[in-house]
Symmetry: C2
Subunit: 197 residues, 2 copies
Amino acid sequence: MRPAPDRRRQLLDTAAEVFAAQGYDATTVRRIADAAGLLAGSLYYHFDSKESMLDEILSAFLDELLAGYDTVLAAGLGPRETIEALVTESFREIDRHRAAVAIFQKESRHLQDQPRFEYLADARHRFETAWLGTLERGVAAGDFRADLDVRLTYRFVRDTVWVAASWYRPGGRHSPEEIARQYLSMVLEGIASRTRT
Amino acid sequence: MRPAPDRRRQLLDTAAEVFAAQGYDATTVRRIADAAGLLAGSLYYHFDSKESMLDEILSAFLDELLAGYDTVLAAGLGPRETIEALVTESFREIDRHRAAVAIFQKESRHLQDQPRFEYLADARHRFETAWLGTLERGVAAGDFRADLDVRLTYRFVRDTVWVAASWYRPGGRHSPEEIARQYLSMVLEGIASRTRT
DNA sequence: TAACCTACCAAACACTTGTTAGGGAAGGAG
DNA sequence: CTCCTTCCCTAACAAGTGTTTGGTAGGTTA
């Protein structure tokens, strides 16, 4: 008998893949079992419910992401460098947790009403603090344009990064760092205040 | 007896609202009926199926949107003005069909495999032609930066516009035109090639 | 008045869903 | 060998799903 404690993670990975492709509600437990090569009932040896699979997928991703954000924020960089680091970190996370990111994008909005998934709203709030705070700091420091609505800018930056998960495929032409660089180039040249008026 | 030929559209509007909020698969026919103030079975007097409601919502929206795009493209504007017009038109469409846009965003990816919803893939292709063509034209004309990956730029512009549907609420602080102006300001200052190197 | 149409309800249908209970095969430990 | 744990299967369950059928209130037409 193999020990296989990573069997659990392996099942979660295939589940995440199916969830991301079909949507959580449209995905049946039997479909996951098919993709994993076992029968539907057998999944319940590893997990108590379909919902707890989703829970584990999302919280594992968010834990890692928020830890990465905290590291960036603790580095004490300037506003512009912080934004650059946040974007790069985000694309690395998309590279590693593409499926989880796609699920989060699609389902979090209506999941966060459920008590079990309250932490999704918390995560959103911590995103907002990180991004919005950095933007405001940058506006005050003169790094970013002051003539834009800050909240609109925040949503703009946040969305431009995260929607990439809907088309990004690991192993493609561009590395996460390369994509981050191009995105930053596009975003910053619009956000950074011109040195010459 | 009231004639009420718009009863159909009224039902479609509430259905679209529920679909957008909960997701298509997560939405039950009884939930729609509840919101509309009748019983589940009664919906089948107006529509043959739940799927055909979705079909009608999406195709009505796409018809109007693509017609708007065609008008813009037929105007014979320059690349930059075309992009501006496309973005503005898109935000107007988001303003009018917010629910349909949200549904399209969430569900189209996995719906377009079904034969019935092939037109979704067609629509995506026409989007790509409109946006990507304009961008390439602009690069050739010197309106947009040439040092960026065009496909990446296309996805960037496209996504930044459409994700706005996930947070936009009509009747808010900003009009569609105002949001379009701010978005364009952010996007273009990054895409437009600098007049001075 | 009688026939008719519109818009709905009440009740059921077949089917799929997530989930559970009991059992069994395969290897490791004693 | 025997016990035990791990991992899976078989078979079923109750609840909920989209959908259909027959009926009916009430206004319109003749």
